[in-house]
């Protein structure tokens, strides 16, 4: 039965195969986005000693579906004197890079849509494109608050992209490859082989820049609801507004997935090299303990939870402090650590670079 399915799959035209794979990635991703919004409201609710959404469906599980239906049926309002074409294309420009980046994410060993050589560079390029949606939305809305939000966001994203790029240079140095799958395989061995320890400062820089790149609290000055109402998407309504949110959450999941892949060994099991090999042969338990997609999803979910935790914990940064942190703290830290890393690699230190 299974062979027959696989065989008929490989008999399909290549374009159909790729489309099928894309559906396999995007559908769970969209579901994950929907339920991340639910998780966000629940987690922040519990942190603030509330229950969070609990009316729609059992324990509020159908809340994201209800939200989606509501947004779908709402009118998309075009503001007067807004630039019609750019106003409607801005949400598309926001979501396309957020989805296209998933093409090079390996979910398990070899489970990747496009196993390209320069995968990490591709990711860096695509995450830097998301800012166009924000800028164009801000400008095309013909609204001063939207423009202010877009300007803040543009400066912030460009600043933090540099720190993020430098942090990723450290990963590339340690792994000796730009291919994301190769980077994970370079961390194989045991939990001590993961890049988390030798690249610890870069990991912090990466994740802080990731939070800033996605315009999440405490770096959400692009939205700044207490200062500029909602920033760049203040004039958007209905599905056009929802697409911006889809993009933001898809980007959050992407940053979390990348943190798991680049620093925490992606699909590799933390028990690898610690438990005896025989354990992994046990039925059921062995599969759970062995490396696989579930470890990747678990690590991603952990980082995603950090995003929500940050939002409930930290007050919003002031704009000049954001710029200071990006340019004067994070970038020097990465540059210093790149030198240290060079020395580590030269000396063949520890289990990582031996």
């Amino acid at each position: 039965m299974f062979d027959w399915i696989m065989e008929s799959f490989y008999n399909l035209p290549v374009v159909m195969q790729i489309l099928f794979k894309i559906t396999l990635i995007v559908t769970p991703l969209m579901l994950a986005v929907a339920y991340t919004t639910y998780a966000e409201r629940k987690v922040i609710g519990y942190i603030q000693v509330r229950i969070g959404p609990n009316r729609v469906g059992p324990r509020g599980w159908l809340q994201p579906i209800a939200d989606a239906l509501k947004l779908l049926t709402k009118e998309v309002i075009l503001p007067t004197n807004a630039n019609r074409f750019l106003f409607l294309s801005a949400p598309v420009l926001a979501i396309v890079p957020a989805l296209a980046a998933w093409a090079v994410i390996p979910f398990d060993d070899g489970m990747v849509l496009a196993d390209v050589n320069a995968g990490l560079l591709y990711l860096l390029a695509l995450t830097s494109l998301g800012v166009y949606g924000v800028i164009i939305a801000g400008w095309a809305s013909n609204s001063k608050y939207a423009l202010l939000g877009a300007m803040r966001s543009a400066a912030q994203i460009v600043a933090y992209e540099i720190a993020m790029g430098f942090a990723l240079v450290g990963v590339i140095m340690a792994a000796g490859s730009l291919n994301v799958g190769e980077i994970v395989r370079a961390q194989e061995g045991s939990v001590y082989h993961w890049f988390l320890l030798p690249l610890l400062p870069l990991f912090f820089v990466y994740f802080i820049s990731g939070v800033a790149e996605t315009n999440r609290a405490p770096f959400d000055v692009a939205e700044g609801e207490s200062e500029i109402v909602a920033g760049f998407h203040v004039e958007y309504s209905g599905m056009a507004f929802a697409v911006f949110f889809l993009a933001e959450y898809a980007n959050m999941i992407l940053i979390s997935a990348l943190a798991a892949l680049l620093f925490l060994g992606g699909w590799l099991s933390p028990f690898q090299g610690i438990l005896p090999e025989g354990v992994f042969a046990w039925p059921a338990i062995g599969w759970v303990l062995d490396s696989g997609i579930h470890w990747f999803l678990l690590k991603t979910a952990f980082f995603l939870f950090l995003f929500l935790w940050f939002r409930a914990t930290f007050p919003r940064y002031r704009y000049d402090q954001i710029m200071r942190l990006g340019w004067k703290v994070l970038i020097p830290v990465t540059i210093v650590w790149l030198f240290v890393l060079g020395v580590f690699i030269f000396m063949g230190l520890g289990p990582w670079f031996a």
């Binding site: 050589n117 320069a118 591709y122 390029a125 830097s128 800028i135 992209e161 730009l178």
Partner: protein, 204 residues
């Protein structure tokens, strides 16, 4: 016609169209966006030429950073297009000279390479990044280092040119703010508690 060739012509047509629109369109924001489109299609053509590193870096640096700042400035400034067009006839001779020089150079390059056979496509294990890195850090290491130093000097020069002390602004240095300790702001004073005044008796 192979699929790659078809893609090349499609991207080439978009690139030429966007470049033409870039210099003819009136709205400066549209012009900047057309330039973004130019970079993008140029990157796609480089990808077809198996130069994936250059293509992605073109998108990363020019589209992701440079053009964002361009748009930033263009959107912030209230550019008067009429004023910009005023000196058109005045600068026309100089422009024509530059155009002629560029056309000559381009023709020289194209006529030299147009008769060349297309190079053999590289194998599947060819990595553009690796090859570029190998050449940059071996054969061309000195030019590469010199270019890096020139860029560093340019960065320092740009920063020192734009840096100015402005005592009239009310901006606060975050470093100074971070240095503030509780002791600087809060003073705990221990005071003897005063006995509560008794309510005065009626009629007193």
């Amino acid at each position: 016609m192979t699929f790659e060739l078809l893609l090349f012509y499609v991207f080439g047509a978009i690139l030429l169209g966007a470049a033409l629109a870039l210099i003819t369109v009136r709205n400066p924001v549209y012009a900047a966006l057309f330039l973004v489109l130019c970079f993008f299609t140029a990157a796609a053509i480089w990808l077809l030429a198996e130069a994936e590193f250059l293509a992605i870096v073109l998108v990363l640096v020019y589209v992701g950073a440079v053009m964002v700042l361009f748009l930033f400035v263009v959107m912030m400034l209230d550019i008067n297009v009429e004023q910009l067009r005023e000196g058109f006839t005045e600068y026309l001779p100089a422009g024509l000279v530059v155009a002629a020089a560029m056309a000559t150079v381009l023709t020289l390059v194209i006529t030299r390479f147009i008769t060349m056979d297309p190079p053999e496509p590289a194998g599947a294990d060819y990595a553009n990044t690796l090859e570029l890195g190998r050449i940059l850090y071996t054969d061309y290491v000195y030019p590469f280092e010199i270019a890096a130093v020139i860029l560093l000097v340019a960065i320092i020069a740009a920063i020192s040119l734009t840096m100015r002390r402005r005592p009239d602004t009310k901006s606060i240095d975050p470093t100074e703010q971070m240095k503030a300790r509780r002791e600087d702001r809060v003073r705990l004073v221990s005071m003897e508690s005063e006995p509560r005044e008794r309510k005065k008796k009626k009629g007193a």
